[in-house]
């Protein structure tokens, strides 16, 4: 893989363009806004109070035949309206629909598909790029197939997005009116970007085969870049509405929009949310395509297809993991910013009504980590020679389980009164220590390190270094030392943080994370150095995976989807009875905060609908493929062995 990357560096120009485009996408929004402020001004500017009245057939003024309104030339003369005080009667009830649940349903489904179709093109583009660099057609095919899977997702995401906006306008007119007052310009840009995205997605997908060679391929890559950039802009724009609703900015205390759209967009939580969603989308896209590959793996009888889909599943799995590993830290950042924005919101989130949600989240993430490790351990079975690592799996498993138990130990223990008296305190003398952040940080870093170790074991499953260079001889020892040093550091920082004030303690998570990151990076580099010259020991067989390992991929996808739904509920529900926190109150009859079980079953229902649609989505390409079956020239299968070198170490 690294070799691939190294080759990629030769395409420095292209890499730079990607980096620049991703980096400047917020700037692009900014520029677009400024452009908008001159041209779109007339479309959405609020009307001055007295002009509005004139329009409302103000009798005396019109009778006298005067144009009552003083010319609205001076922009300083109008002021947008403050946030309305909505009353129950301002919320229409349409056909007896529970508007809260209807919007929840539509929004969550929209987000599931949107996250999927935003995440997939990112790595599709990267894989296609690798394919161009390595000139290996299998990458291109795989990228194409991923794209094929996600195509149905695009229209579904758009459909649910449409449904969501219709529901919002119909069921929450007062709220939407206010949001349009603040974000009108932005919404217009959003709509335009949506056309751009549609253009790119169709040209990118349908032009795949036509633009396969030479300069056209470069154009195709450029289209993919356009797809990702427009997707990115779409995401950050819609994030701005979500973050505005949680932590409004660009308005005054009464909710009067101050006229600066950029200030309204770049709220306190915008960037943390952008990062969190960006990473999560990649992980999510990866986990769903992994499920697709598993699905194909399980439903095919052909040995070659199995090998192909095993490889595809593995690649998707690695992509999902790459997204998953930094995700907890992006989550910490978001939570920290929530605390900084409002202590009340922060404690509601972590200590109040939602406290148990985080135990639930911990259980889910733990389940995801356990499945991920299990998949990696099963992956060892592809190579006969990996048996030499088997002895390490059991201790590794024990460490993961212990770290995981620490990770989900609740801060507030549920105990019977008898247990309470046995313990003698509301805080358990041992488990009490696991309930606080210091232990959680230690546990999650340990979990990540262990998972990465599982991954590294798999990478060297069937190879050994040759030659007698320094790295070949001592590299592994250095890696072991690295792991030990990092883990010691993580644990001792974790213990030390019990003895220092809370303010300092929060800062300690940084060196802990850095320890993990250093291992992740250095150990990967050392790996390439060790295996610069390597030899295969024994055979490596793609497709040689037990059925149960494929189920873990499903477990991963399903858990991820459910978790995403749950956290969506959480992020949205901490606003409690506010549409826009502290500014625009939700006075509808449905302005309740749902209980956790209620939310859980709601999420379950949504996930079930989603899964039904996903199976449909998986089915579509198969249907299409069956028709072409006869014509199709088989590219998959054949000698896949070379591919191993590219993905599983060299």
């Amino acid at each position: 893989m690294l070799l691939t990357l190294k080759r990629a560096f030769r395409y420095r120009g292209a890499a730079a363009i990607v980096a620049i485009l991703v980096a400047i996408s917020p700037l692009f929004v900014y520029a677009a806004l400024n452009f908008g402020s001159s041209s779109l001004y007339g479309m959405v500017s609020a009307t001055p109070a007295y002009a509005e009245e004139a329009a409302q057939a103000e009798a005396p003024a019109q009778e006298e035949g005067q144009d009552g309104a003083v010319e609205a030339e001076d922009p300083n003369m109008w002021k947008p309206l403050p946030a309305p005080k909505l009353e129950t009667k301002d919320y229409p009830i349409v056909a007896g629909i529970n508007s809260r649940l209807a919007v929840w349903f539509a929004a969550q489904l929209h987000l599931f598909f949107a996250a999927f179709v935003l995440g997939v093109p990112i790595f599709v583009w990267v894989i296609e790029f690798i394919g161009v660099v390595t000139k290996d057609p299998r990458y291109d095919n795989m990228a194409h197939e991923f794209m094929k899977v996600s195509m149905t997702g695009f229209s579904l995401a758009a459909s649910f997005g449409g449904l969501l906006s219709i529901l919002l306008v119909v069921l929450y007119p007062g709220f939407m009116q206010y949001m349009v007052g603040v974000f009108g310009k932005v919404m217009v840009i959003y709509a335009l970007m949506f056309f751009a995205e549609s253009f790119f997605v169709y040209t990118y997908y349908y032009g795949w085969d036509k633009m396969a060679e030479g300069g056209l391929k470069k154009l195709h890559l450029f289209l993919g870049l356009g797809l990702n950039s427009s997707g990115m802009v779409l995401m950050v724009l819609s994030n701005s509405w979500a973050s505005f609703m949680m932590a409004p900015s660009g308005i005054d205390d009464a909710g009067v929009f101050l006229g600066d759209s950029w200030a309204a967009i770049a709220g306190h939580l915008w960037n943390p949310l952008n990062l969190h969603r960006f990473i999560a989308n990649i992980a999510y896209g990866g986990s769903l395509t992994a499920a697709y590959a598993a699905f194909k793996f399980l439903t095919t009888d052909s040995k070659e297809d199995r090998a192909h889909y095993d490889w595809m599943g593995y690649t998707s799995f690695v992509i999902a993991m790459v997204g998953l590993l930094p995700l907890p830290f992006a989550g910490y950042w978001l939570t920290k910013e929530v605390y900084d924005y409002s202590q009340q919101m922060g404690i509601t989130l972590m200590g109040g009504v939602f406290a148990w949600l985080f135990i639930l989240q911990a259980v889910l993430i733990g389940a995801i980590f356990l499945s991920a490790n299990y998949y990696l351990w099963c992956s060892l079975g592809r190579a006969e020679a990996s048996k030499r690592f088997y002895y390490m799996i059991q201790p590794l498993g024990v460490v993961i389980v212990i770290a995981f138990l620490m990770w989900f130990t609740p801060h507030t223990l549920i105990m019977t009164s008898k247990e309470l008296t046995q313990i003698g305190d509301a805080h358990h003398p041992l488990l009490g220590y696991f309930g606080v952040m210091a232990a959680k940080n230690t546990a999650v870093n340990t979990l990540i390190l262990s998972t990465f170790l599982s991954f590294q074991l798999f990478r060297r499953a069937n190879i050994r270094p040759t030659g007698d260079g320094f790295w070949a001889q001592y590299g592994t020892t250095i890696q072991v030392a690295l792991y030990i040093a990092a883990e010691t550091n993580i644990i001792s920082l974790g213990i030390w943080s019990y003895f220092i004030p809370a303010n300092v303690r929060i800062g300690l998570s940084v060196p802990q994370v850095s320890s993990t990151a250093v291992v992740l990076i250095l150990s990967t580099i050392i790996d390439t150095l060790i295996f610069k010259k390597s030899a295969d020991i024994g055979e490596f067989k793609w497709g040689h995976m037990p059925i149960r390992s494929q189920y873990t991929l499903f477990m991963l996808a399903v858990s991820f989807t459910w978790l995403m739904g749950l956290m969506g509920y959480c992020r949205s529900a901490i606003r409690q009875h506010w549409h826009v926190y502290t500014v625009l109150r939700d006075n509808s009859v449905n302005a309740f905060t749902p209980t956790l079980p209620f939310a859980a079953w709601m999420v379950t229902a949504i996930v079930l609908v989603f899964m039904a649609l996903v199976f449909f989505m998986f089915w579509m390409p198969i249907l299409a493929a069956k028709k072409k079956e006869a014509k199709k020239s088989k590219v998959a299968g054949g000698d896949l062995h070379g591919v191993i070198g590219a993905t599983a170490g060299e």
Partner: protein
Amino acid sequence: MTLTIRRSKFTSRIIFLAALFYVSVSGAAMAAPGNAENGSKIYLKKCWWCHGKEGEADGPAAKFLIPPPRDFSMGVYKYTTAKPGSEVTRDEDLFNMISNGMPGTAMPSWRQVLNEQERWDLVAFIKTLTDMFEDMKDPPEISYGSKVASSPESIEKGKKLFKETKCFECHGELGKGNTMKKLKEDSGHRVWPRNFHKPWTFRGGYTPEAIFARISNGIPNTPMPAHAADKTGNGKLSVEDRWHVVNFVMSLADDERRVKDGENVIKGQQVPQIPKDEKDPVWDSVDGTAFYLVPQIIQKDRFFIPSNDMVYVKVAFTADEIAFLVEVDDRTKSVPGDKIVESLSWDGLSPDGIAVQTPVIIPESSEKPYFGHGDKAHAVSMLYWNSGSVDKGSVSAILTATGTKTREPSDAKSAGFTTSASYDNGTWKVMMKRKMITPNKDKDTQFVVGKYIPVAFANWDGSNGERGSKHTMTTWYWLLLKPETGSEVVAYPAAVFLILVVGQFAFAAMGRRKEN
């Protein structure tokens, strides 16, 4: 040969153990000389709040405490194991009091907070707060003689001596501390004699040796005299006699009425006939539960110096009626108008009272009324009884409250509410009886079988100055009127068993078919 080797190994082990023992014992002895300067630092951080900066028992908390904190400037210590006749107490006693604390008082155990050396440092410092220790050597420990093991005969002898020595004048006929005298410490603070049925409240510890030392040395500064016989032995108790009394006292412990950790549900029991009064033998078959009483220190006027510490409750019910039996160990039968009790009481005499509180609406979720008199949104119903007065007899009422200031009577007659009470040798037994269901649904609790019903208690000891907001109470506990066990206890496990067995057989059959 092998034998000798083995033996020598054995001997060397013994020697080693002995040496170890010696080292540890002498280590403790060597730790004894504490550093008074260091002790003073600890004292000024942790101790002065009660005992005062100069050790004169005048710290900020002192005026709220009974028994009062020890006055170190006097150098007189209540719980000493020094040889009778010694003028000062032993260092070991001071050390033990700091280490173990004193049950039933505000003095906690400092073992968890201070290490052994620090505690010895404190001992050294405390001794500098008086001149009593200046020329005195650490006195020798009391001689325990040969301990008499507890036996029915010894207890019988002890009982006789208890009577002969007139211990009952203060400690009561049954040893419940229901005194016939008004007792003060030398400092003038009120003091109630110990209730021997609750030895876990003994300040100086609950071991035969501690009780022996107490009987021998008395409790200096209080009306409890020393009973160790001097050389002539007149009127006092010999070592052996004292052991008999110890055994008698130890035999009185009533663990049944002790608060059990984690037991916070009253086991309401269905009986064929509701008990007619508090002495009805039906009560013997009902399980009781004990709860701590704590003084009302939450609202004005706060009350800090309770005399009763525990309430013991039984509940029986039939289809129509429910009866509470509330027992409180109270050293005086406070009925205003009674001249004798008036002479015993502190801060005036008012009636003894007991209240049982339940929510009017039995909560379905965890949300309950505020435990002190309910709140605006959640009313509580109280069954109230007090001992009234000599002239007018006892008083009882059902009240409905939505806060301490909003309390109004409910109709006791239609609720079928009656009480009956008696006082016997240091214990009030009060039975309160009511209909399970009353016509006043919005004022009275409607008792239901099988539901967890929050319940709380309050008690007023009239001779301890307890009236109005000054009283002892409990927070919410539970009452469960135990339903008759239904068929589900059998049905569910049986169903699970069947499903599992049939399922497994089916699974096995499927597996075999596959194999074939």
